[in-house]
Amino acid sequence: MSIIQRSLEWARKHSTAVQLIVPLILVGVLVQMFGSSLLVNVYTFFCVSLMMVLGVQVFMGNSGILSFLHVGFVGVGAYASGILSTPPAVKAMGVPNMFQTLVDLQIPVLPAILLGGIVAAIIAAVISYPMMRLSDAVGVITLFATLIVFHVIMTQWDNVTNGPRTFFGVPEYTTLTVALVGALLMIVLAYWFRESSMGLRVRASRDDRHAAAATGINVVRARYAAFVLSALMAGLAGGVWAHFITSFSPKAFYMSEMFVLLSMVVIGGAGSISGAVIGTTVVTIAREVLRQVEASINNAHVLSFEVFGLTELVMAILMVAVLIWRPQGIIGGQELKLSRFKFKKKEEVSNV
């Protein structure tokens, strides 16, 4: 009796995390068992996207500051993990100008992904130290400018990234299970941070920076903590992504990807973890459907021209529509919570 009750009690207290995690696992198991290989791929990619989106959410959702930069941290994680784990022979061939020390490096994939996250977090810790002191609008523009700096470094530093050319030969590692575990880990991390005292401080500063300071909150330090943690998460997501896609170029970490990432955050509702999950779901489904539509229109040759960019167009319209009618996103700022009523009922049943 006590175990059931205690676990119910626990589930009620953390109902937000539980009700996000359980369906993800269920769908994952179903897809793995019965899904076509396309579906497995789509779900894996969904989980990887979810990792990235949650990384963004931890900073943006809690602090209320729009971040264009996080796709850059995804890139840092991807390159770091890729460079660390790709076999020297492949690197020597694929990246002709690479520093010899980097060419010789090779460590297993999992530690490489973790290190990729840590590299992203360290870079974030250095660059955001002055940035978190900037006021909101100026801070947003600075983050955007920093993304451009990241992009220039990635496209020009051919001793490390192979410049604008494709970096290929990254060992494949990310299966559906890996991506799912990663996504669940991110949910737990995002949830833990949101409910932690530091997370609460950051959320208070979103409401009113000055009132937060008057309550005794060091706003800069709170935002700094959120930023570094979210960069770590974005970097980890980048590593997992790199070992899924196996070859990529700096283009993958720039405007259009940033737009996709932000649309996932904004459409679901940046203020909550539930919003991030719902937004990623909606955008992933919409993108897959639109891509199919686009492909079948083009294959049918009914039009005299190629349909191109339909996906981006519809996504942009969707985002504008959400911003007009539901500026807080589909979910809004509050987390989804099963009503207490339902839980009470279940508890009574279990007591009988």
Partner: protein
């Protein structure tokens, strides 16, 4: 004579080029309830801001419990034991009542004490227990004021500063707020109160300072002030307003 808990000595402060305080001095002793009175623009809120470090005075000093706290950062001053309930309540609307209270407790957080403190707040403000999991923004004005005061109390302040606690509240709720101030006073809490409603404030305080144009015009015990100053004339620019209760 004992040294005062809070001693503000000749502070000057300005907003950009506009000078707001021209040398305010005041003292608050432990266990006292002190009011700052005066019309809009007299410098009441600015004085509080200067004490809490939100605004840096251009000269003068603020001493709290024998320590110079002039121009310290607000969060450090809160940790020293001064809590401010800002004007217009400024609770965190997107956070739940529970989270608002937890934020208040951060300045001196102990898990065990937190639970006991919550219980105490529920006794003082039963409505907060009812609304515990609701976002603060959905509370009524009076409830938000209660929450703002409860949040400040969670920090175990040695000195509580209330900026216009009755602003925008109905007369009935205003009564509640003043009843609360009286009961906090009986518990021995030291309070610095800024109030427009001078008549009401003088009923609950030991001492008061009447500010005008950034200077202390009159100070003394509540009875002194009542005798010395025609409150109505202060608010109505010196013209006799036939006594009567003035509420602005």
């Amino acid at each position: 004579m004992t040294t005062p808990m809070l001693k503000v000595d000749d502070i000057h402060a300005s907003y950009g080029a506009v000078r707001a305080l021209h040398g305010i001095s005041l003292e608050v002793n432990e266990g006292e309830v002190v009011a700052l009175l005066g019309i809009n623009g007299a410098g009441k809120s600015t004085t509080l801001k200067s004490i809490t470090g939100v605004l840096r005075p251009t000269s003068g000093s603020v001493t709290f419990l024998g320590e110079d706290i002039t121009s310290r950062s607000p969060e450090k001053i809160v940790k020293r034991g001064i809590s401010l309930v800002p004007e217009g309540r400024e609770i965190f609307g997107a956070l739940t009542v529970e989270e608002n209270l937890r934020l208040g407790a951060f300045a001196s957080y102990h898990r065990d004490r937190y639970k006991a403190d919550l219980k105490e707040m529920f006794e003082l403000f039963p409505i907060l227990e009812e609304r515990f999991h609701q976002p603060g923004g959905l509370l009524s004005g009076g409830e938000q004021q209660m929450l703002a005061i409860a949040r400040a109390l969670m920090a175990h302040p040695k000195l509580l500063m209330l900026d216009e606690p009755s602003l925008g509240l109905s007369p009935a709720i205003t009564d509640d707020v003043f009843a609360l101030i009286t009961s906090l006073r009986e518990r021995g809490l030291t309070i610095l109160l800024v109030e427009q409603n001078a008549e009401r404030a003088l009923e609950v305080v030991d001492k008061a300072y009447l500010l005008a144009n950034g200077l202390v015009e009159v100070s003394g015990t509540a009875d002194d002030i009542k005798k010395k100053v025609d409150i109505a004339s202060v608010y109505l620019g010196g013209e006799d307003a036939e006594g009567g209760e003035v509420q602005l």
